[in-house]
């Protein structure tokens, strides 16, 4: 196991733990106002300090992790749930009109500047976590469809698939029973990368006010709130920013590490 994989796994699970922990325990109530103690820098009582309403930043970061992870995770889920079957279908019917339609549709979504469309969607249908999830999720679909199709195509040439066909299994069954398990590694790695991109996208959307709405804490909106106060309370901007960096860095390292670890050919080449 590489250092990347270990560091990535440690950072990612740290954030995940904080998010899960926030369901049962936070140092303070994340929404509790405490005006007399507002804008405190990090100290023994408030590890990450307090914001302009005196809310505990540590608690807000913990609950914010929940928001980020939930949005990014569901968006990856949408991408996989729709993209993987599309990719499997396209590969099973290689060269057919169905394959053509699926792949051209993919190219089309790829060609869209995702951020602009995400902003359009959330602006028209209203800001909120659900619409942010949909906006991010749509752009995950072609990613998974393409990677699934690419890997599945080479598998369809293999002998064990031929054996399955000879034994009378249909394309759908072969896809589900033989192709899917063999592309799972690839999907896990890509899922990790899309997860980290989703965290960044969610932060961006909620920074411009189109993500999760108050009082749900989200890292992006904490940064937007901090913007006017950055000169006298820099910790308000530093801490949510570092939280995003740690999460994204962790997931990227995890993705890279998993790819190397799951692919024995690379493992040999890198050694």
């Amino acid at each position: 196991m590489s250092r990347n994989l270990i560091l990535g796994a440690v950072l990612s699970s740290l954030v995940l733990l904080a998010a899960l922990m926030s369901f049962v325990w936070t140092p303070y109530d994340y929404a509790a106002l405490d005006i007399p103690n507002k804008l405190q820098p990090p100290n023994a009582q408030h590890w990450f300090g307090t914001d302009h309403f005196g809310r505990d930043m540590f608690s807000m970061i913990m609950v914010g992790a929940r928001t980020s992870i939930a949005v990014a995770l569901v968006a990856v889920g949408i991408g996989m749930a729709l993209g993987v079957p599309l990719g499997l279908t396209a590969a099973a019917r290689k060269g057919s009109w169905l394959d053509e339609v699926i792949m051209r549709g993919n190219d089309l979504v790829f060609a869209f500047p995702s951020l602009v469309i995400a902003i359009l969607i959330t602006a028209v249908f209203g800001a909120g976590a659900i619409n942010a999830i949909i906006a991010i999720g749509i752009f995950n679909i072609p990613v998974f469809a393409r990677i699934t199709r690419g890997a599945a195509l080479s598998l369809w040439e293999r002998e064990f698939i031929l054996a399955a066909r000879v034994s009378g299994k249909g394309a759908a069954r072969i896809s589900a029973e033989h192709i899917l398990p063999n592309v799972a590694n690839l999907l896990i790695v890509q899922g990790t990368i899309q997860f980290s991109l989703g965290i960044l996208a969610e932060a961006g959307l909620s920074y411009v006010g189109l993500g999760a709405q108050p009082p749900t804490p989200s890292w992006g909106r904490m940064l937007a709130d901090a913007q006017t106060m950055v000169s006298f309370a820099p910790h308000l901007a530093l801490i949510p920013g570092l939280a995003i960096i740690v999460t994204v860095l962790g997931l990227n390292l995890l993705g890279d590490g998993l790819r190397d670890w799951l692919d024995p050919r690379i493992r040999v080449a890198r050694a």
């Binding site: 089309l108 602009v116 602006a123 000169s231 530093l238």
Partner: protein
């Protein structure tokens, strides 16, 4: 080559048509009637009808779609609901901020990424390579709007080298204009530079393993000479593709960065239009950005196929 170009041109056309239909449809289902938004809740029904007719909101959906598209083809993007000025004029004004910003960021990103990528590849596996690679991992993980805030904190608030936001305008001179775009351009360029440096490195590493590199060394070139004359040149092809793709990314990415620096570019225009429910502006700016992105990608594909014939057969 001609057949390939034609094929790509047709798919470019289809992409643009589908994009325009999608954008139109999304805006169509948007709740709220612009006319009643503009005139308020106490407006008379006949006044509303008159305004709708004036804004071109009274025809059938299909008719309105064709009016919108045919207008754009001749540069008529309609009239803003809130400002009552031609949208094309508003876009042209804002373009003078967004476009230079994207170009500036692209230049910076390239200037950072090239040396970093080449340096890392030349020192593969050594501490220098690991440092650059670590830095790029970090660069990819940093949200650019947060990095922008940190730049403001350090260089505008603490050191007072730059203003914290706003745009001085080009009429005060090119340097004044560039000066106010510097921090936004750096913020925009950093994550892109990180990606580009990684592409540069891996592309160069691929080339360094080629036989002709060994030949170059064998005929007596030093490591450095071989690297620059044969390595970097050949490694540039995939790197240039990424640069092309990044341009459209930077143009779209400037939407959020403009918010941080209060720059009067296309991005701010979109957000102002969204909050004023000035949907014709939103619709047209989004279409323009999509058009720019799709067209740039098309040109990059074409240029790439021109350089590398192997790609023409692949669709």
């Amino acid at each position: 080559m001609l057949r390939y170009a034609l094929k790509r041109l047709i798919s470019l056309f289809i992409s643009l048509v589908v994009a325009s239909v999608v954008i139109f449809a999304v805006i169509e289902v948007a709740p709220g009637d612009p006319a009643s938004f503009m005139l308020g809740v106490n407006a008379q029904e006949d006044t509303l009808a008159a305004l709708r007719a004036e804004l071109g909101l009274d025809g059938s959906k299909i008719q309105r779609y064709f009016n919108w598209v045919s207008g754009m083809l001749v540069g008529d993007f309609g009239t803003s609901y809130t400002y009552r000025t031609p949208v094309s004029q508003m876009i042209a004004d804002r373009m003078w901020v967004s476009l230079p910003l994207a170009l500036y960021a692209l230049t910076l990103s390239t200037l950072i990424a090239f040396p970093a990528g080449i340096y890392a590849a030349a020192r593969r596996g050594k501490p220098g390579d690991l440092t650059v690679m670590g830095a790029t991992q970090l660069g990819i993980a940093v949200p650019n709007f947060w990095f922008a805030m940190m730049l403001v904190l350090i260089f505008a608030i603490k050191l007072r080298w730059f203003s914290a936001g706003g745009f001085a305008g080009w009429d005060k001179g090119v340097w004044t204009g560039l000066h106010s775009l510097t921090l936004p351009a750096i913020a925009l360029a950093l994550p892109q530079a990180a990606i580009l440096a990684r592409v540069m490195r891996s592309s160069l590493l691929d080339i360094l393993g080629e036989d002709f590199m060994r030949t170059a060394r064998a005929k007596g070139l030093s490591r450095r000479q071989a690297l620059w004359r044969h390595g970097v040149r050949n490694a540039l092809i995939p790197v240039l593709t990424i640069i092309g793709l990044q341009f459209s990314f930077l143009l779209a990415g400037s939407i959020i960065i403009e918010q941080v620096f209060y720059l009067p570019g296309l991005g701010r225009l979109v957000f102002q239009a969204i909050s004023a429910r000035d949907l014709i502006v939103v619709e047209s700016v989004v279409m323009l950005l999509v058009f720019a992105v799709i067209t740039v990608n098309f040109l990059v594909d074409l240029a790439y196929a021109g350089v590398d014939p192997r790609l023409r057969g692949r669709s």
